[in-house]
Amino acid sequence: MFNVFEIAGKVSLFGARALAESFRRPFEGGQIVRQLADVGSKSLPLVIASGFALGAVMTLHTRTTLVTFGAAAVIPTVQAFAFFLEIGPLVTALLVAGRVGSGIGAVLADMRATEQIDGIESLSIDSFKFLVVPRIIACTLALPILTLFMDFSGLLGGFLSESAASGLSFQLYIFRAFSEFQWSNFWPPTLKTCVFGFVIGTISSFFGYTMNEGAQGVGKAATNSVVISSLLIILLDVLLIKLIFFIFPGSAL
């Protein structure tokens, strides 16, 4: 138990240091762009495919029930609310934790094992600022963008599923999807994924950067990154939803 608190403390300090370093020169613009491209290219196909499939499946499931109650017209609305409020942010974060978080943990642990991090330090370059900070910033920036892709691909999957079943037009589907929608339903859930991104970047970088167990540590860092990031994302989601309801009471349906 003591070990859990010790690691929690170290991760918190690690994240705080990254936050402070991100406002200090040099800003590592090139590295941030490189990492952003890496996070995006690794995750985007997975996010779009998952969103599309989830959207189609969700419509198939909800349709039966809603038609029974004569509420087939609200299928697009349910789909939009479900994706923009919860499914999009949460599933995107979990996918990125699995796809990118494990990669960050493994890459940094491998760099530690093969003395690449020592190599950077020996060149008078701050390895934390060069390797860790850009990865955390990239995850933080990429998550909301990827979430939007998840949201809209989910809507597209839902539309195709609904269209095949009822012949609903695209214009009417979109109109019904967003007829009850407010900005407070869109911005807070989307922007909360920045927190998820920060968590994924920080946890993964922490386990990779501080791992010092040679080749064996690479797998361990990757596993720890995914497991701890995913767990924290789910727990933080509860807190962030309560916070959003507190700040935007109208969004609490």
Partner: protein
């Protein structure tokens, strides 16, 4: 030490442990600027740790380490960065950044630590790659380089900032005798042309005999011999004589 030469590196009663294992125990030595020191010893006797202590990648538990006028064990990050710029480090496995091309690996320290223009950086990289015989390989990724090429690439990176002190960790390990000799030649040329101080950790007695002005022998964390090759050959310590290849 040759009269008039100031020491480039001083180890003063340095000790270092990892958990219960004491790797260095009260070790003291120094090396005059512009000369070459080879550190010999059996595996696990603190040779690589010695190099990492010099460049402050590790901190000693006790003792002081001087690089020119700076005592490196208690320097601030900015002062340590200034001291490290005087030092080049050839890692055992080269430690090239595997996500960057050879050119990008070499350009990195110049881009970040100097005000050189892109043309000047290109010129320096071409010059150094020419010295190490990799002029046509700068677009390659580290994974595309052979063991000997990686070593030479690592040496090229270590030389990019024209260091006053060059640390080399097993520069000939895993290489055939001819390639190892080429690496030794590069080190000696660096010493002759730029008066670079060389500190080389090696198991290659042949290479040590070619490169070293002085030899330091470590065994079980202690310095058991320090002197010229001929002095080590006639050392009273049997392990030192065996390591230099004059006994047994």
């Amino acid at each position: 030490m040759t009269p008039g030469d100031s020491p480039a590196v001083i180890f003063d009663q340095v000790s270092k442990s990892f958990g219960a294992k004491q790797v260095l125990n009260n070790v003291s030595w120094n090396i005059p600027a512009g000369s070459a020191l080879c550190i010999l010893g059996r595996s696990g006797t603190g040779k690589s740790v010695t190099l990492k202590l010099i460049i402050a990648l590790l901190k000693p538990d006790q003792g002081k380490i001087w690089i020119d006028e700076d005592e490196v064990t208690h320097l601030s990050a900015s002062k340590l960065s200034r001291v490290r710029r005087k030092i080049g480090y050839l890692f055992q496995d080269a430690a090239l950044f595997d996500s960057l091309t050879l050119y990008e690996n070499l350009a990195l320290p110049l881009q970040r630590l100097t005000n050189k223009s892109l043309e000047e950086i290109d010129f320096v990289i071409d010059q150094v790659l020419g010295q190490v015989g990799l002029a046509n390989d700068k677009a390659k990724m580290p994974s595309e380089l052979s063991g000997g090429m990686r070593k030479r690439a690592g040496l090229a990176r270590a030389l990019m900032l024209e260091p006053k002190i060059l640390l080399a960790d097993e520069p000939s390990s895993g290489l055939d005798r001819i390639t190892a000799s080429e690496i030794d030649e590069l080190l000696l040329r660096q010493k002759a042309d730029r008066k670079t101080t060389l500190i080389v950790v090696t198991h290659d007695v042949h290479g040590a005999r070619r490169v070293a002005d002085r030899v330091l022998v470590l065994d079980r964390g202690k310095m058991i011999a320090h002197g010229s090759v001929s002095e080590i050959e006639h050392s009273e310590n049997e392990t030192a004589r065996r390591l230099i290849g004059s006994d047994g």
